[in-house]
């Protein structure tokens, strides 16, 4: 977990499959994870997808008997041979066969079923104008600016008044003074103004120069209006179902056309809430699916004739660009670092077309590396190991993490005046990415 304050709030539903496999106890919460990890790519509780909607399944067909569900999930082919209901279902879904999950335990299947029974349809959120989540720092700055300006003007007026009054009193006392220099000719005022302009101007020039080539908020129009909100948000498709490459490789990669068609062979219409593009214009979801069909070379009227080998790639526009001299590895961050996608990509489940959430600047990377704790290896007195074993070689850190009992040079414990051991606090409270060399140049530049 990354304790970046503004981000923690936004961490949302899309969690990773693999966590599920390591959990020892199965609960309803795990049912959700299990469902998302194993079932969600084809099934939705409320809508028919590649497979049928699962809500209320125990009222249908043979599924009232839990043993039938176990048998079906573990070996669909074997079950179907003796069951007419599932044979019909297969015919209804274009001959697509349910994938076997022989590894799922019966209690895990129970957890999934209870999750399906409990889950409520998501309440569709209407697109709101400004968005409630935007921070107020910009507005505050404006207020401060206005107040400072007003104060500056007041100060100026007071100074003018002061000099006028002084002049009046001098006149009254008959002291002769040269005519006061008007403030626009006053060298002090001019110098002050120039300095202020230089500082403010310099600040914005430097800021602008640093920001060159960075494109936070970049939201290009894509060849297909693909809504992450619909897919990852409302339908809760696991990120890795489409971006599975991120698990293996430095690139997250955009899914190939055949991956889209896994589901869209059966989903030819968009029936959800109306979609709006960045300009607020309504987008016809079904038209977008038709665009996909054009790339895939898929004819919805003759679905069985489709040949994935004849599909064409969709020329998406790349949003997150790093300079050539930066090495970034997705699999490192999500597997070794256990970083959530949203940490860098923002609340993707609420975005229709994706826009760049983070700055992707070096300072941004370094800050995170400074704060983020690694999954450090430790072993307690009972011999239980925690964390990634790779880090077991960092023995010095392991020692530094332990509170230490003070000893003298001869190796004897030093006691305080009450005769108690002096416990020295541990030298470090956690091991961050920085500690293992994560902000050194050649970790990312080579």
């Amino acid at each position: 977990m990354i304790p970046c304050n503004s981000i923690v709030k936004k961490l949302s539903l899309c969690t990773f499959v693999f966590l599920a496999f390591f959990s020892l106890q199965v609960s309803a919460q795990d049912g959700k994870q299990l469902f998302q990890g194993n079932c969600a790519s084809c099934h939705n509780p409320f809508q028919n997808g590649t497979g049928p909607a699962l809500k209320g399944l125990e009222d249908r067909g043979p599924w009232g008997d839990r043993n039938n569900i176990y048998a079906w999930v573990h070996n669909p082919v074997g079950f179907m041979a003796t069951n007419k209901y599932t044979q019909d279902l297969k015919a209804q879904y274009g001959g697509t066969m349910m994938t076997a999950f022989p590894g799922l335990k019966t209690e895990e299947i129970d957890a999934i079923v209870s999750y399906i029974n409990e889950v409520q349809p998501p309440v569709a959120t209407k697109p709101t104008g400004g968005g409630s989540g935007t921070d107020n720092s910009g507005r505050n700055a404006l207020i401060f600016g206005v107040i400072s300006l007003i104060l500056a003007i007041i100060a100026l007026i007071l100074m003018q008044v002061n000099s006028n009054l002084k002049k009046l009193s001098d006149d009254k006392e008959g002291i002769l003074r040269p005519e006061a220099v008007p403030f626009w000719k006053n060298k002090i005022y001019i110098a002050m103004t120039i300095i202020v302009l230089f500082v403010v101007g310099g600040f914005y020039v430097v800021k602008g120069a640093i920001g060159m080539g960075r494109q936070i908020g970049y939201e290009p129009e894509q060849p297909i209006f693909y809504s992450h909100k619909v897919h990852a948000g409302i339908n809760q498709i696991n990120c890795l179902y489409c971006h599975g490459n991120a698990w293996e490789s430095k690139h997250a990669a955009i899914p190939s056309t055949n991956v889209c068609m896994n589901c869209h062979k059966n989903i030819g219409e968009y029936k959800g809430d109306p979609l709006f593009d960045a300009d607020g214009k309504e987008v016809n979801g079904t038209e977008q699916i038709k665009k996909l069909y054009a790339y895939a070379g898929f004819d919805p009227l003759n679905p069985n004739a489709w040949d994935a080998n004849k599909a064409k790639s969709i020329p998406w526009i790349k949003i997150h660009n790093l300079p050539d001299h930066v090495y970034f590895n997705h699999s490192q961050h999500i597997r070794a670092g256990n970083v959530q996608c949203q940490t860098c990509h923002g609340e993707i489940t609420a975005m229709d077309e994706v826009k760049q959430f983070s700055e992707l600047s070096m300072g941004w990377c370094i800050n995170c590396h400074r704060q983020t704790k690694v999954n450090f290896y430790n072993i307690d007195s009972t011999g239980t190991e925690t964390g990634n074993k790779f880090y077991s070689i960092y023995e010095k850190f392991r020692k530094d993490l332990m509170p230490d009992t003070l000893k003298d040079n001869g190796g004897k414990y030093i006691l305080d005046k009450n005769g108690k051991f002096i416990i020295h606090p541990s030298k470090m409270d956690s091991v961050t990415v920085k500690d293992i060399g994560g902000i050194e140049c050649q970790k990312c530049h080579y």
Partner: protein, 1058 residues
């Protein structure tokens, strides 16, 4: 050590003043701030105001240029293949085959592109070793000069054009039409090692197969036919030999199967300190070869004397007198010594001979029989198939062609117009053949005369098999879809012989029939090996010896000057002669790039050129020769041909012999990079009636007034006389003073850290860099390094090291991250007589107390917590302070935009920087750039770069371990140079791991371990193991204590006088 001197250049040998001055200057030229008129930049026509204008403009331009963001596309797969992940490299086992050279390799394929060659560890005889040429072969795949489609040669009047044949169907039809009625078909190839291809050739009706090798082993093959009744070459077990005698065989670099031999040889050269023993290597040769450089004892002779030397050895072994008299006392003494040693090691000795003369090889066979080599160090149970060409067959073919007895000639691999000793007669004969077809990949010297050129695939695009040794098969599988419209030549042969299957199917059927279901697994492993049979001695028959002996005795003596033709480790026989990596590879001995030249001894230089490089009073002459690339040029006349070639003076040459490398002077049709590089000397071979000799016993040399520039790298980095850089001694000395090197190090600790003895911490003002986790280290065994340069090319490929071209190398701008320094060891008074040559791979030493780090004003180079020295290109501003302050001279500066990485176009050809060579542009071609490693930044102009310990590989290994939730295992992370090395000279790993090989290596070799110029307290992370020569010579050992005491005494004495 008064008479022993380590030296790299003649100026260093003479300690000249100029040399001292030169080495003060890291960068040997002024910044290019000069105007055309040669005025300084302040007085020039572009003065300060202009400078400010440019400054303002470039700032504004840079800002504007970065304002606009390019729209980049991310195009995914349409239908993603399973198990292929963009960004993750896959390794496929395949086989590097070039002519008969075979090395089982793995091709690293990243996003569909093969980008790096690694050795295949499953192969028992190479054990993962590779050669420079195998490493460079991946660049040949992306050579823009490969033929892109089949062509037909069309002659209209005097104009010759090569026109595209639109489709293979059309081509097959045309060929079939022309073949109809033709009866005498000949296939001319270089050695074919593929069993399935041989079957295809055998099945082709009326097709005669002739094999012709540019570097022929005909003499050896025919001699074995006489001695053993088999026209084959037995396997040589260098690892089993305690005494190795090579008569002119360059077996560590170019002879037969150098990777395999170097692997075996190195096993006998590793030293166990508890019982220091090693094999003894004698080299008889005429020129300074790479193998000769590794020899313990070297004796030079004229090339025409090789038969006499062999015969002498045989006669003395047999105890018969009346051997031909050698008038050379040194040679005579050498032979006596060798004979005594061979006698003492019967059964454990091995004699190899590089001669292509049947008679000489028959005598060598007799020697090997006399010393009991057969069945021990030479094994007939497996035969080597690397070379099978018989020179006489080729001669017969040319005669047949000239007589009009050949109707159609298919050519594959061979390139006789370039390689044959009588190329003109071949060319004439070729014109008489009705149909000529070339399958070569490029429009080479022979192909351009053929009617049709049907390019075959590069091996990385091919299916195939190779049987380098009988019982050992290695498979070739494609790693990329053919880039161009090419076709396997086997498919063409199948088609034209009426068999409609293509070669891939044929090959699959061939092996599935043999291996059944195991075929896929074999393909995945890349190699299948039969269980090794018991060594066989073969059935030796000495009947031919008498004839051979009389033929040798009757041979006429050589003239005043003789010529040897040799191969370089880089381009070899020239088949990969258009490869920029190989062309820019410095020769191990001469350190010259981009040329071939005449090598001659210092005494001959004095006689022929009047150039005396040994006379210390003629400093100016020496410096002129050494520091300027202009070298004297001679006219060389042999076989009635006259060539003008530049001269390099090299110690260790026979006094009457000159040597010129083959493989250069390729046709300009092979690309802009190769045009004008060197000259072809294959025509200087002599045909002795049976075989082609690679020497010429009578040549004429004439001095000319011309000069020619040669780009040598030997003087580019100098240690300012710090000869402790290399540590070398003899075995006898090492046995007597085993702790000699160790004591030096202990002495250092005493000197620098008198209080604690902790050399590391006490003798510095800088804080220590803590390494809480890993600490990388490298150990290089100088005893194993043979100077083969495979590591240098591997480094090129792995790290996108740019090629700079000859003109830039001449300006000291070479970019090799890893260089192999060559030191001659010789008697100061007789430098021609080289006692030893020491190779020292020199790369960034990754100092823990790095001099470069302290001087960088922008902290672009700094230390990592894993012990390596980091270089950050995007932070570097190009002050070059670091390179100035580096005592090892391993930092390289991008003087120009060698890679095309700059944001500004047209940064490569500028008035100020100078025009870059054509090869730089070739390397920046879109096709060639496909070879770049996407994980390594391509550096732009104005930044320093250097060895990074292959940090991308270290990071990948660490990540894999983290993903698998385990500790990093030893061997997970290997540098490119380490994996390329055929002799296992480089060991790399985590020195904090007590069980790792690197830790053990350092622990077990305390007596030979040293760090280069350790007294500077740079604390390098690269250590070396001292080179040991196996001779009885006892060298004087400096007594550190006494010397120091003496020095102290001197100091107090001078103080006293004050």
């Amino acid at each position: 050590m008064s008479d022993k001197k380590y030296w790299q250049s003649f100026s260093e040998l003479a300690n000249s003043e100029e040399y001292e001055k030169k080495i003060q200057n890291e960068f040997q030229e002024e910044l290019p701030f000069e105007d055309k008129d040669g005025k300084g930049w302040l007085d020039a026509s572009t003065p300060r105001r202009d400078f400010l204008k440019y400054l303002g403009f470039s700032t504004a331009a840079a800002s504007l240029a970065s304002c606009k963001t390019h729209v980049r596309k991310a195009v995914p797969f349409a239908n993603k293949p399973e198990n292929i992940y963009p960004g993750v490299a896959k390794y496929y086992a395949t086989t590097y085959v070039q002519d008969g050279d075979v090395i089982p390799v793995l091709a690293k394929v990243r996003d569909g592109r093969p980008i790096k060659i690694e050795g295949n560890n499953l192969c028992s005889f190479t054990q993962g070793g590779t050669s420079a040429r195998a490493q460079a072969s991946v660049l040949d795949l992306y050579d823009m000069n490969r033929l892109r489609h089949p062509k037909e040669r069309v002659v209209k009047g005097t104009e010759v054009s090569y026109e595209e044949v639109p489709s293979f169907e059309q081509l097959d039809k045309a060929i079939a039409g022309k073949l109809a009625g033709l009866r005498n078909l000949v296939l001319l190839t270089s050695t074919v090692v593929s069993p399935s291809t041989k079957e295809i050739i055998a099945q082709y009706p009326n097709l005669k197969h002739v094999q012709f090798d540019a570097d022929s082993y005909s003499g050896l093959l025919q001699a074995n036919e006489i001695s053993f009744g088999k026209r084959a070459i037995p396997a040589y077990n260098f690892d089993k030999a305690n005494v190795i005698v090579s008569l002119g065989a360059d077996f560590l670099a170019t002879w037969l199967s150098p990777v395999e031999f170097a692997r075996g040889y190195s096993k006998g050269r590793k030293i166990n300190e508890k019982n220091p023993e090693m094999s003894k290597h004698y080299q008889f040769e005429s020129h300074m070869s790479t193998t000769g450089a590794s020899a313990d004892e070297r004796v030079t002779h004229r090339p025409s004397q090789i038969g006499v030397v062999a015969l002498d050895i045989l006669n003395m072994l047999n105890g018969t007198e009346g051997s031909p008299v050698n008038d050379d006392a040194k040679l005579e003494a050498g032979i006596k010594k060798v004979v005594a040693d061979l006698k003492a090691h019967t059964g454990n000795a091995l004699v190899v001979c590089g001669s292509n003369d049947v008679n000489v090889q028959v005598i060598v066979n007799a020697i090997n029989n006399a010393i009991g080599a057969y069945g021990n160090t030479i094994d007939w149970s497996s035969t080597l198939n690397y070379r099978q060409g018989i020179d006489a067959e080729m001669n017969q073919l040319v005669a047949d062609m000239a007589a009009g007895n050949v109707d159609a000639l298919f050519i594959q691999g061979a390139n006789p117009v370039y390689e044959y000793h009588d190329a003109d007669s071949f060319k004439k004969a070729l014109a008489k053949v009705k149909l000529t077809v070339s399958f070569n990949e490029k429009l080479d010297e022979t192909s351009e005369w053929c009617n049709y050129i049907i390019p075959t695939h590069h091996y990385l695009e091919s299916w195939g098999d190779a049987e380098p040794k009988s019982g050992y098969t290695s498979f070739i599988q494609p790693t990329i879809f053919p880039l161009f419209k090419t076709r396997a030549y086997q498919t063409s042969l199948l088609k034209w012989s009426g068999n409609d299957t293509d070669y891939e199917t044929y090959f699959r059927n061939y092996w599935t029939a043999k291996l059944g279901a195991g075929f896929d697994a074999s393909l995945q492993n890349g190699v299948i090996e039969n269980t090794a049979a018991a060594p066989s001695a073969g059935s030796y028959n000495g009947a031919g010896v008498a004839n051979a002996a009389s033929a040798i005795s009757a041979a006429k003596k050589g003239g005043a000057i003789e010529l040897v033709l040799y191969q370089k480790v880089s381009v070899g026989n020239g088949k990969q002669g258009g490869n920029p990596w190989l062309l820019e590879l410095p020769d191990p001995i001469t350190r010259a790039t981009w040329d071939n030249y005449v090598m001659m001894s210092m005494s001959m230089a004095k006689d022929v050129l009047g150039l005396d490089l040994t006379d210390k009073n003629k400093e100016k002459t020496i410096n002129n020769y050494e520091y300027y690339p202009e070298k004297p040029v001679v006219e060389l006349t042999a076989n009635g041909k006259t060539l003008t070639l530049p001269v390099l003076v090299i110690p260790g040459m026979d006094a009457h012999t000159i040597a010129v490398a083959v493989g250069f002077g390729r046709s300009e049709k092979l690309g802009i990079a190769v045009a004008g590089v060197g000259q072809n000397v294959f025509g200087l071979k002599t045909f002795n009636g049976t075989t082609a000799d690679y020497f010429n016993s009578n040549v004429e040399l004439k001095k000319t007034d011309k000069k020619y520039k040669i780009a040598q790298t030997q003087i580019h980095g100098s240690y300012e006389g710090r000869t402790e850089v290399v540590k070398e001694t003899t075995l006898a000395t090492f046995k007597k003073h085993p702790n000699h090197f160790k004591e030096y190090r202990e002495e250092l600790a005493k000197d620098f850290a008198p209080l604690t003895g902790d050399f590391r911490k006490e003798s510095t003002i800088y804080p220590d860099h803590p390494q809480p986790g890993l600490k990388w280290g490298m150990s290089i065994d100088m005893n194993s390094c043979t100077g083969c340069h495979a590591c240098v090319v591997a480094c090129h490929a792995e790290n996108n090291v740019p090629v700079v071209g000859k003109s830039e190398v001449m300006r000291y701008h070479d970019m090799h991250w890893l260089r192999i320094d060559r030191y001659f060891v010789s008697d100061e008074n007789n430098p021609d007589d080289v006692k030893a040559v020491v190779f020292q791979p020199m790369l960034c030493q990754h100092c823990d107390n790095a001099p470069c780090e302290n001087v960088c004003p922008v902290a672009a180079t700094n230390h990592s917590s894993e012990g390596y020295n980091q270089m950050t290109y995007n932070r570097c501003i190009g002050t070059r302070y670091c390179a100035n302050n580096c005592p090892y001279k391993v930092r390289r500066f991008n003087w120009a935009d060698y890679t095309g990485a700059d944001s500004f176009p047209n940064n490569q050809d500028q008035k100020l920087v100078g025009k870059l060579d054509a090869v730089v542009h070739q390397m920046n071609d879109d096709l060639t750039r496909m070879v770049l490693n996407p994980d390594v930044t391509v550096r732009s102009r104005g930044v320093i770069e250097k060895c990074s310990f292959c940090v991308q590989r270290l990071q990948e290994a660490k990540l894999t371990a983290k993903k698998e939730d385990r500790v990093l295992a030893d061997g997970d992370a290997k540098t490119a140079c380490m994996t390329a090395c055929p002799t296992d000279a480089i060991v790399f790993g985590n020195v904090h791991d007590k069980e790792s090989r690197i830790t053990k290596m350092r622990e077990d070799n305390q007596q030979r371990l040293f760090y280069v110029i350790e007294q500077l307290h740079t604390l390098p992370n690269v250590n070396y193991l001292a080179k040991i020569r196996n001779t009885e010579e006892l060298l004087e050992v400096e007594e550190h204590h006494e010397e120091q005491a003496a020095e102290e005494k001197k100091e107090t004495a001078t103080e006293a006088t004050h």
